[in-house]
Symmetry: C2
Subunit: 314 residues, 2 copies
């Protein structure tokens, strides 16, 4: 496929490396002075990791071209990924340019972290082929992409977009409901806000906050998310036991975040959700699976944790 | 050393396995019917992971004894870890029993998730040797322990406690300021509350929320915490660039959590904190270090992610 990448910052360059690694032709565009050189350097720097994850047949950095003019860059593309700075008006303007010059059936994805697709597709001639496709840095390694259709996106185009992102070896999360920050960034932002409060109040340093996460919960979250993690922490009783034991903590000042009421409806959603996603694995199998993973992860991550700065314990 | 573990739920049993693996004598106590049998089964189930992480010389499950009476169980111990349910009055009562029967200089640690040490040490005869020592499930694998002294804990006893937990092959985070939920649980609780809101409002299922975390940000957090992750996402400009680009998002409704004001003071704390904890590594070195880790982690975690449930994309 012919692919175009609009905006070559950290995220745009990550998309380019991923697309090239999967054997596509890529045209990159960015109006900034020196953008091509910075982009080529970034792609070169990421290439060994792209190779380590496995190149598709015919994959080559020679299939990358640069075209400063966005209208020109997108006109032949079957698929275009937009990655300009997170300013709504700017994104709308750039998306209109793409929409006007691209083929009418080319899929357009936006990497926006938090803007809702219905807002971004408002002034497009062909809004039906537009989706939010939010990746995670580094894009050439992390598999997740959140696909969020807007009100005007058609089912057919969502399906087509999903196949394209899957063909880029990504794990697609189809977000069925628009919300500011989609899903993942809301969780990241919740951690971020609480972390800022802790530093702001002088409770701990940034390094201490980081360590509080990486050496404990962070290791768990590479494998199981917040729900399955708590399901497991409940022992044989799973999430039911967990909600009984730690449900009351929702009333305590454990964060600056106001908690929802733990209604019967929410309780049932959470418990049945965990049971469903366990997908036939027993608690004991989930538990063993986690342990085997954590032992191997611990062995691995010790090579890569940053060395702690010198400090006395007191 | 002679160690005692009071309360043999999921966390208490995790401590027992870790202590035995490090070659200590352990006396466990729990008043519940059938506690000894459940505990021995739990220790047996975790033993292969304890072995995989490496046994200390002389380590053996034969060094574990059970004593139903708490007063009796703790009287010879040099170090006692309390793990009874998260109910403040219950913990206070049990800690008083421990304090009265233990040697006057034995270190007492509490596994409490969220209660502050000054509250727990109020009625002890020897409050100076009491600390919160909050571990993470599974305790026999995850290295982090948050050590939080109370107002009456002496410096000397904090140092002694830290050496004991370090000798158990743990990564000690000395939390210098008491706060509900300590540090790590505040971050975990922030994710948890936002996750509950998302499920409560019907935005996504528990499985989708979990995937939104494990296949992206969760992989990053096993290595770098919230601060260093954003420092890296800022490209060459690091946290300075990041705060410029995403600082304004603090004003947006990206979570249900109220954000702090991004004052100059907070800005400086965060930027200099990240620079300090980089500990001489350049952005590019941090970046390469992360990439090498993520490539190996991705290879590893694919074997262990739970299989997704069947669903259509629509």
């Amino acid at each position: 496929m012919k692919m175009a990448v609009v905006g070559t910052g950290v995220i745009g360059n990550g998309w380019i490396a991923r697309m090239l690694g999967q054997g596509h032709d890529v045209v990159a565009t960015d109006p900034a002075e020196g953008a091509e050189e910075r982009m080529r350097r970034a792609v070169d720097q990421s290439w060994s990791y792209v190779e380590a994850l496995g190149l598709a047949e015919g994959a080559s950095r020679d299939r990358l071209t640069f075209e400063a003019d966005a209208a020109e860059a997108v006109k032949e593309a079957d698929f275009i990924q937009e990655n300009v700075p997170e300013i709504e008006e700017l994104k709308q303007t750039v998306l209109q340019t793409i929409d006007q010059h691209a083929k009418a059936d080319a899929i357009i994805g936006s990497s926006t972290s938090g803007i809702m697709p219905s807002e971004l597709q408002t002034n497009l001639n062909n809004p039906e082929r537009f989706v939010v496709a939010h990746p995670f840095h580094p894009v050439y390694i992390l598999p997740l992409v959140e696909i969020v259709p807007g009100e005007e996106t058609t089912h057919e185009h969502v399906e087509k977009a999903i196949s394209i992102y899957e063909s880029l070896q990504m794990s697609v999360l189809h977000v069925r409901n628009e919300i500011e920050g989609h899903i993942a960034d809301r969780l990241i932002e919740a951690i971020w806000r609480e972390s800022l409060h802790i530093v702001n109040e002088g409770i701990a340093t940034t390094e201490e906050v980081d360590k509080a996460f990486t050496h404990g919960a962070g290791m768990r979250y590479a494998q199981y998310g917040p729900f399955l993690t708590f399901h497991l922490a409940g022992g044989e009783g799973g999430m039911r036991h967990m909600l009984k034991q730690f449900g009351p903590a929702l009333k305590k000042p454990w964060t600056k975040l106001e908690a929802p009421e733990l209604t019967d409806e929410l309780y049932n959603k959470v418990v049945s959700g965990c049971e469903h996603q366990s997908n036939g694995m027993t608690m004991s199998e989930l538990d063993q699976n986690r342990n085997e993973f954590l032992v191997r992860l611990y062995d691995l991550v010790q090579e890569y944790w940053p060395k702690e700065t010198e400090k006395t314990h007191s």
